[in-house]
Subunit: 123 residues, 2 copies
């Protein structure tokens, strides 16, 4: 299980900055950060340094309410991990992340007209 570091943020899932969301703005990224196993609050804040603690807690609560993330308290340790449902979401989520990574530079602000040709679907 590889440790979380700030670089992994962009590396793993550029879709964090894309308009693709789960739950709220940071939901998809949190799920991805939990993909390798349980993490503590402070551990999650390493790759997610740009979230304020309040917002990260909010996001975690949302994911919890959706049944995607489980929160465990042991003493003063708080651990977050994916539920079975959360894990089941990883596969389609990885597909979206892979897509986002592949088409990242195409997605941001479409000013290039050549890119915007129709696909001639169903023709």
């Amino acid at each position: 299980m590889r440790p979380l570091d700030p670089q992994m943020f962009d590396e793993l899932c550029p879709s964090a900055l894309t308009p693709i969301r789960i739950g709220d703005k940071w939901g998809a990224l949190i799920v991805v950060c939990l993909a390798d196993g349980p993490r503590r609050y402070s551990e999650l804040r390493i790759p997610l340094a740009r979230i304020t603690p309040k917002v990260m807690t909010q996001s975690l609560r949302t994911l919890e309410r959706l049944g995607l993330v489980a929160r465990t308290v042991e003493g003063r340790q708080v651990t977050y991990e994916l539920t079975v449902l959360g894990v089941s979401m990883l596969e389609p989520l990885r597909a979206i992340c892979a897509w986002a990574e592949e088409h990242w530079d195409e997605l941001v602000d479409a000013t290039d007209p050549i890119r915007n040709e129709p696909a001639a679907l169903g023709a």
Copy 2:
């Protein structure tokens, strides 16, 4: 190319109501509605009757700016269709939709504690 009808709304992609979004609230659904080929504005409004025209135009503009949808004007006809980039998104999107459909009733308001067991990932 199968015609758009109001029922197709629920049938096609329950994720429309899930917290999974592309662009804005209606983005994912619009993309799915364009999956079978080009559609006119009024045609899109059939399955998307609950969107007000202003918001639908907004969503379409967003998808356009992202390079996912192309807008074509011929006379007084306006046609929307997926770009090549938009089509490339269909596969991962369908994966998410399939997941959402399968786990739909689990996702809405997690009050059942038994569901929220951790997955013991990375253990």
